[in-house]
Amino acid sequence: MYRTMVLTRLLDERMWLLNRAGKIPFVVSCKGQEGSQIGAAFALDPARDYVAPYYRDFGVVLRFGMSARDIMLSAYAKAEDPNSGGRQMPGHFSSRTRHILSGSSPVSTQIPHAVGIALAARMRGEKLVTYTSFGEGSSNQGDFHEAANFAGVHKLPVIFFCENNLYAISVPQNRQLGCAHVSDRAIGYGMPGVLVDGNDVLAVYEAVSQAVLRGLNGEGPTLIEAVSYRINPHSSDDDDRSYRSRDEVEEAKKNDALEVFRDELMRCGVWSKEDEEALRKELQRVVDEATEYAQKAPLAEPETTLDHVYAK
């Protein structure tokens, strides 16, 4: 888990750097949300379960089999990008073989899709759970409420996973939610609502594991809200200085899930400074190679713009 968290972080930082250097046009960041994502994704079984992720879920898709190279091909919008061949912005993950359902940019649209997969699997007698994630801002969209209610009525094995990072671009949580917590909404849909510290990767893992069990046992959906903090601006085109203080961001960094987990591992004696250095060095090389490969990879032929509107 820690390894995937570090890889997620290094990729994120590299993409941000490449954007600032003018090499790639756009990035969304998951920095600060790795604890939520990795905790959740490791409670799922990539061979069995399906994910309908949102655009920050880099940690989730790495767990579901995407490689650093795949992420970089997408960042550079190259033909070989497995998500969309460079058609979509980075963060719009997709891979049928890896059980990652393609998503779009209007938020929350993926949530009913996750319910549909759970419904289809149940109709076919296949045991799985579907995971779908979204921010606290997205939890105000009709699609969230309609899908949660649908899953509640039909007791479908769906995990509604809110990655509450406290901001929907510039609008803070208290301007997004009429209630105290997204998880409070669960009762309206007949499912448990679980509030968990998104910076505590093991607590997230535990909460999602329980939800997986519920789903597999036919007990229906669960709504989990993992609260963390988006350390970077909303996207590479956003400047968060207009809506939050530097003090607040610096304070949040002290609870960074990555550091919390590393310190915990070291305290338990299963991780050392040397381990950390070796891992960083190894993963840095992975990210370097992925960057280099993606940079050199060919772009799509312009005429392919016309392909794949309908089946041939």
Partner: protein
């Protein structure tokens, strides 16, 4: 061949496909126990059970969104929207998701989904139970749109839609459910999406139309025939894709074209058909292209005289045809 009602042909298409293909299922509001407010799915829950004829919560975006997820997973959902007017909350799911899933994943995922919706007016349905919404979706590559005018086409097109690998909007005119009956072939037949039908052969003028207006046009054509005016009538059947060859051939055949639809005139399907003919067959024409359509008001009013004013009928179509024939 057996004479069947339009509504029965739709139901039979669903039943037969569901018997053949375990992946096909219906979901929507009231489709189960009630058998649909129009009784289109009547009796189906008894045969297929509540899982395959699924009553859903009243939430159109979820009906379509859940169907998209199921379709992506490999099922063949038929999502019923109770009235086409109520498709609006699901428009984002249809346009942003269903239409683009194949494109944005380069064919890795696709969405074999059928959305059925009763549309059209003349049944005292007022503003929100009378609309024609096909033009809203006509602008969206990735979707297919069909509007059968006969029982045979209703069955054949629905079967074709249920075997199509891409999302198909299937608009059934509610005014035709029990008013239209015709010969429906026996056995496993389909009507290909994208092919128009010559509803009547003629040499003096061409009318291009679809849906309920096909029948009003045929009635008007009979009256013109009594006066020696011969009308060629094209039933488009498919709105998206349009049958370009059939449209151009029919326009060239008579040199005079009238396009008739119940939907508003501005930005309607007629505008596209007209532009196509103007681009490709202008010098084969003997008269300006004419359009007869619903008026450009927001929707159809409830009261009888207002509704009658809005709605096209065979007399209005006959007048437009005579005017064009005399040009």
């Amino acid at each position: 061949m057996a004479v069947k009602l339009y509504i029965d042909a739709i139901r039979e298409a669903m039943q037969e496909e569901m018997r053949q293909n375990p992946n096909v299922f219906v979901l929507g509001e009231d489709v189960g126990l009630r058998g649909g407010v129009f009784r289109v799915t009547q009796g189906m829950i008894e045969e297929f059970g509540p899982e395959r004829v699924m009553d859903t919560p009243l939430a159109e975006s979820a009906i379509v969104g859940v169907a998209i997820g199921a379709a992506a997973y490999g099922m063949r959902p038929i999502a019923e929207i109770q009235f086409a007017d109520f498709i609006m909350p699901a428009v984002n799911q249809i346009i942003s998701e269903a239409a683009k899933l194949r494109y944005r994943t380069q064919g890795d995922w696709h969405c074999p989904l059928v959305i059925r919706a009763p549309y059209g007016g003349g049944v005292h349905g007022a503003l929100y139970h009378s609309q024609s919404v096909e033009a809203l979706f006509y602008h969206v590559p990735g979707l297919k749109i069909v509007t059968p005018a006969t029982a045979a086409d209703a069955k054949g097109l629905l079967r074709a839609a249920l075997r199509d690998p891409d999302p198909v909007l299937y608009f059934e005119h509610k005014g035709m459910y029990r008013a239209i009956r015709d010969d429906v072939p026996e056995g496993d037949f389909t009507v290909p999406i994208g092919k128009a039908r010559v509803a009547r052969e003629g040499d003096d003028l061409t009318v291009i139309t679809y849906g309920l207006m096909v029948h009003h046009t045929l009635t008007a054509a009979e009256r013109l025939a009594a006066d020696g005016i011969s009308t060629h009538v094209i039933d488009l059947r498919s709105i998206l894709p349009l049958d370009r060859e059939a449209i151009l051939e029919a326009a060239r055949r008579t040199g005079k074209v009238l396009i008739v639809h119940e939907d508003n005139k501005t930005g309607g399907i007629g505008a596209e058909v007209s532009a196509l003919i103007a681009e490709e067959a202008l010098f084969d024409l003997d008269a300006p292209i004419a359009r007869l359509c619903g008026p450009d008001v927001p929707a159809m009013p409830f009261s009888a005289p207002l509704e009658a004013f809005y709605m096209l009928n065979s007399t209005k179509i006959e007048d437009a045809m005579r005017k064009l024939a005399a040009f």
